[in-house]
């Protein structure tokens, strides 16, 4: 079994915490994980992409090849489209619906939505609304982890344990809010 994910978003949106949640959950399940991150100049408000590979056997490389990703998981709809070449024909395109507009030529939102739909692989998640409902706007990332998790080869309890570990230093309320967002993201 191997499962390759391309994580997409804008620098500062928390792509790395989403990757960490899934990666830690996979490791708690005894799976092997490789996670490639973006640091430095590239991460500053620009498009960022991270590779996350999960497998029950040794993973040689850090990068996912084109046409090989089982999932693109994006924090933002425009970024969801940027890396389509990586998505397997039967892969999933899981994206947050709320746009992150920090460029003057950001395309029309309806057009983006129609292009996500046109892939036939789209799973659009209103992560912002879920986060609001959970009582913590920053829990949107865990809502996305939740939405992705229904397709992942990682059990719910392991990801929830990972989320608890991640937010352990922030106190019980933050943990509960993130778990709530995660579960709501699972739908």
């Amino acid at each position: 079994m191997k499962y390759d994910i391309i994580l997409a978003g804008v620098g500062g949106q928390g792509v790395l915490s989403v990757a960490a949640g899934i990666a830690t959950g996979a490791m708690l399940q005894g799976l092997q994980v490789r996670q490639s991150e973006v640091h430095g100049m590239a991460q500053r408000g620009g498009a960022v992409m991270s590779h996350l590979r999960i497998s029950d056997t040794e993973i040689p490389g850090d990068l996912v090849g084109e046409g090989s990703a089982d999932m693109i998981l994006s924090m933002e709809p425009l970024e969801a489209l940027r890396y389509l070449a990586y998505l397997k024909p039967d892969g999933k395109l899981v994206t947050a619906s709320d746009p992150f507009i920090n460029i003057p030529n950001y395309p029309d939102e309806e057009l983006i939505k129609s292009k996500v739909d046109a892939t036939g692989a789209g799973v659009v998640v209103d992560a912002k609304a879920i986060a609001k409902e959970s009582g913590n706007l920053r829990a949107a990332n865990m809502a996305m982890v939740g939405a992705a998790s229904t397709f992942l080869p990682v059990e719910q309890k392991n990801i929830e344990k990972a989320i608890e570990n991640m937010f352990a230093s922030k106190g019980d309320t933050i943990i509960e809010q993130n778990i709530k967002a995660f579960r709501a993201g699972r739908g």
């Binding site: 804008v10 620098g11 990666a23 490791m27 092997q32 994980v33 490789r34 996670q35 490639s36 991150e37 973006v38 640091h39 430095g40 100049m41 590239a42 991460q43 500053r44 408000g45 620009g46 498009a47 993973i59 040689p60 490389g61 850090d62 990068l63 996912v64 090849g65 084109e66 046409g67 090989s68 990703a69 425009l78 970024e79 489209l81 940027r82 389509l84 070449a85 990586y86 998505l87 397997k88 024909p89 892969g91 395109l93 920090n102 460029i103 030529n105 950001y106 395309p107 057009l111 983006i112 292009k115 046109a118 892939t119 692989a121």
Partner: protein
């Protein structure tokens, strides 16, 4: 001992710690910064390791040499272009009789994710005639670093570990081994081996050349250079180095037959193994990350019996990173089908944070420039390099650390007016002071703007080597007239006033310095939350 999830950078750092280092030095630079950060964090809670950032890579390197001189193991870290700054001590250190294990970790950045150039540090190791290890995963980062210390002490040379961005910034599980105790503090008993007086340097150089054969014996025997021969398949063989092997290992499963294969991760290149591979195949495909280091040796200048394929004939791209896709292509495998969209996807380049002090400085500078028919703004390496992009479009040169000041001086002395140089505080302290002293000596008509945000921002907010409070004293001390050292606060409410200060100093026919003083937002946020990272 145990299992840890680590970045390649962190695995290297832990390898050095477990190999018994007593000290570590470095200068931040993507993708190498997390090596020192890991050692620094470790040293906060563990006694016995001295770790510190230095002003620049050269000072870091020289400080590290001192530790080796007294018998201790030491790690020095930098990015590839940082090694250019440390090239002087690096090249000479190969001639020294290294005592305490000395390992230099250099992180290359193929694809230039966060760099001004693509270099390949393996050339530097070969240039200095020393040894180099090139790990391909986090476990190897850990193990090869430990081995590099052994090799350094066995052969009395500085040993390089070459990383690349994808390994430096990728996480995986690492299994650790028992910690080695530190070396006792014991000064070398061969100080002649540390004095590169011409007469002595000649002897040391001869000694280094003599030892080359033992380096080669080591790399030829090394399990880090594995050769597998498949004598049933002679069409082609493969040489990989670094991450090239990872992509090759994935792609080879689709090849009809497994080719003979040599993986090289300990240098100098194990020549006999290359020859053995060549005896078994008609063609060699070279897959290496960076430049054509191995490939050029194979090709040479003269015609040869065997066909060589790689970056020189375009089968592997000559620039950028290796990846699963370009390696598939080089092996003759078809690309995999993915999805596509017919929508034009606009680029989303990196940009200054909302409210960044640099943006306010650039706004004032841009308006001041409108008062002149023409002007030059040279700049430097840091977050403020993003001032090159819209909406700022504020700067015109980005060359290397510290270059903004020297370049401005040269343009001013060639007759251009007005010339402004924009440099960050950490970059100024790294290598901006010397050219400013040059400008003072000539009273060059130019204006240096020091963007003092009190942090090394681009690389993750490391502490600047000298606090802002002492910057002005330093500038006064090298002879800038007190009346032409101005401090501005880059905030919108001071905009008009700041524009006037820029205009005044740009009109001044001598050297002036404007310090734009406001803390980096990220650093301020970090201080507020009380965490270090």
């Amino acid at each position: 001992m145990g299992e840890l999830v680590l970045l390649g950078d962190e695995a290297l750092a832990l390898g050095a710690i477990d190999a018994g280092i007593s000290s570590a030095y470095g200068y931040p630079g993507t993708p190498s910064s997390e090596i020192m950060e890991y050692v620094l964090k470790y040293s906060e809670t563990n006694d016995g390791i001295f770790a510190s950032w230095s002003s620049n890579e050269k000072t870091a390197y020289e400080e590290a040499l001192g530790a080796s001189f007294v018998g201790r193991r030491v790690l020095v870290t930098m990015k590839h272009v940082g090694l250019n700054v440390a090239a002087d001590p690096f090249m000479n250190s190969a001639l020294l009789d290294i005592k305490g294990g000395f390992v230099i970790a250099v992180a290359d950045d193929p694809g230039m994710h966060s760099s001004q150039g693509e270099q390949d540090s393996r050339y530097f190791a070969a240039f200095a005639r020393t040894m180099c290890f090139e790990p391909r995963n986090q476990q190897e980062c850990y193990e090869m670093t430990r081995e590099a210390f052994e090799v350094s002490e066995r052969f009395h040379i500085p040993v390089m570990i070459r990383l690349v961005t994808r390994l430096a910034h990728s996480r995986a599980v690492v299994n650790t081994a028992p910690v080695k105790p530190q070396n006792p503090m014991e000064k070398t008993d061969n100080t002649k081996g540390w004095m590169l007086l011409p007469a002595l340097a000649r002897k040391n150089w001869a000694s280094l050349l003599e030892r080359q054969s033992s380096f080669l014996e080591y790399t030829t025997a090394s399990e880090y250079n594995p050769l597998t021969i498949n004598s049933d398949f002679t069409e082609f063989g493969v040489i990989t180095s670094g991450l090239g092997k990872n992509y090759y290992d994935e792609a080879k499963q689709e090849l009809p037959e497994l080719p003979s294969h040599l993986h090289i991760s300990a240098y100098p290149v194990p020549v006999d193994k290359v020859r053995e591979l060549a005896e078994n195949v008609k063609k060699i495909i070279v897959i290496e990350e960076g430049c054509t280091f191995i490939e050029d040796y194979l090709r040479g200048y003269l015609p040869q019996a065997i066909e060589i394929s790689g970056k020189q004939d375009g089968e592997v791209p000559l620039t950028g990173e290796l990846n699963p896709d370009n390696i598939r292509k080089s092996l003759g495998l078809a690309a995999k089908d993915g999805h596509a969209t017919d929508m034009d996807i606009p680029g989303r380049p990196p940009q200054l944070c909302k409210g960044c002090p640099h943006a306010d400085t650039y706004a004032a500078l841009n308006e001041a420039r409108e008062a002149f028919d023409n002007s030059i703004v040279t700049s430097d390496i840091g977050c403020y390099s993003l001032g090159a992009l819209p909406p700022h479009n504020a700067i015109e040169t980005i060359i290397c650390m510290g270059a903004s000041i020297g370049t401005a001086k040269g343009a001013a002395e060639a007759g251009f007016k007005p010339v402004v140089s924009v440099i960050g505080d950490s970059t100024f302290l790294h290598s901006g002071i010397s050219p400013l002293i040059d400008a003072v000596s000539c009273n060059t008509p130019m204006t240096v703007v020091i963007l003092d945000n009190g942090t090394v921002a681009m690389t993750g907010g490391q502490t600047t080597i000298m606090p802002s409070s002492r910057l002005k004293t330093l500038i006064e001390g090298i002879g800038i007239e007190a009346g032409h050292i101005k401090t501005i606060i880059p905030l919108k409410k001071h905009h008009a006033e700041n524009v006037e200060i820029f205009k005044t100093e740009m009109n001044y026919q001598g050297i002036s310095v404007i310090i734009a003083l406001r803390e980096c937002l990220e650093t301020a946020k970090k201080k507020k939350s009380g965490g270090s990272k």
